[in-house]
């Protein structure tokens, strides 16, 4: 091996090794919050790459003995609009200056409802977000915070 290869090949090998052990590349993580008989699970992209679409999945479970009526999910606009493209399912019920509200309807006892956002970042860097879930006209019952870092 030439001296250049002696130090150059380990550098070339570094990226595949980091990819295999999961230190680079898209990574998802889950955050769980629970309060007042409502369980919120948010599966979000912890690491994403520019122009690569990754899902953010919000699962709301009703742990109460009675149905949760008019369940809604609030996502901050700052977070969602940091992405060049985003697709919300279900569609936004309304959009305020601060947040986007999605309606999940009624959730019977022991059941869950899912909302999904497909996010395609166009900028690099870290962006913090949160998901709040409430029912009816009440203030949000449960809140989960997370952050996404976008790499080239």
């Amino acid at each position: 091996m030439t001296p250049l290869q002696t130090w150059g090949m380990p550098l070339i090998a570094l990226l595949p090794v980091l990819a295999v052990v999961g230190l680079i590349g898209t990574a998802e993580e889950q955050v769980v919050a629970e309060a007042d008989g409502v369980r919120l699970e948010v599966s979000y992209p912890r690491r994403s790459h520019r122009d690569v679409t990754t899902p953010l999945t919000v699962t709301v479970s009703n742990l109460r003995g009675s149905a949760l009526e008019d369940v809604y999910v609030l996502v901050p606009r700052d977070y969602v609009e940091r992405f060049d493209e985003f697709e919300l399912r279900p569609s936004a019920e309304w959009v305020s200056a601060d947040s986007i509200r999605l309606s999940l309807g009624s959730v019977p006892p022991g059941e869950s409802r899912v909302a999904t956002a497909l996010l395609t970042p166009g900028d690099y860097g870290r962006v913090s977000g949160s998901v709040q879930v409430g029912s009816g006209g009440e203030a949000p019952l449960v809140n989960a915070e997370f952050a996404t870092v976008t790499f080239p």
């Binding site: 090949m9 990226l15 595949p16 680079i24 590349g25 679409t53 790499f151 080239p152």
Partner: protein, 149 residues
């Protein structure tokens, strides 16, 4: 992780496929070089890097390919048996002015094709040739007899 496995699979598949195809199919470049030429552009294609067209993923794929090529060269250098598996060994097509028909059939080379190569090397007759050898890279080396030099 997925990208590394994809590149590894495609690399091994192409090595196998090119080895099976035989030497004559690659008379200008070695099979390993052809693997490189085929793979580098493809690494940037979505088909090979999955649904991730990011720069990071493309670099991971390209580095994986370079690493495999380097490891291949190390292994074949250190282990002659591995070299025979990855790269085919030379075949004698003619010796002392006579065709070695068994090897010519095996390599799918006709007498006319061999004579044409001999003429291109500047020799008129097969009798002037001591050795005609099909090299691993698909080219035919012609070594004349002493009196024909």
């Amino acid at each position: 992780m997925e990208t590394v496995l994809r590149v590894l699979f495609v690399y091994l598949f192409l090595l196998f496929a090119l080895r099976v195809m035989g030497k004559r199919e690659f008379s200008e470049i070695t099979p390993i070089e052809l693997v490189m030429l085929l793979l580098i552009p493809e690494l940037l294609q979505e088909a090979l890097v999955g649904h991730d067209p990011s720069l990071t993923n493309a670099l991971v794929a390209t580095c994986t390919l370079f690493l495999l090529v380097f490891l291949n060269s190390v292994v074949t250098y250190l282990n002659p048996r591995a070299e025979r598996v990855v790269e085919s060994s030379p075949s004698v097509l003619a010796y002392e002015g006579r065709l070695v028909e068994r090897n010519m059939r095996k390599e799918r080379i006709t007498p006319d094709e061999l004579l044409s190569t001999i003429h291109l090397q500047g020799y008129e007759e097969l009798e002037q040739v001591k050795w005609a050898i099909l090299q691993s890279n698909g080219q035919i080396a012609v070594i004349p007899k002493d009196e024909a030099r």
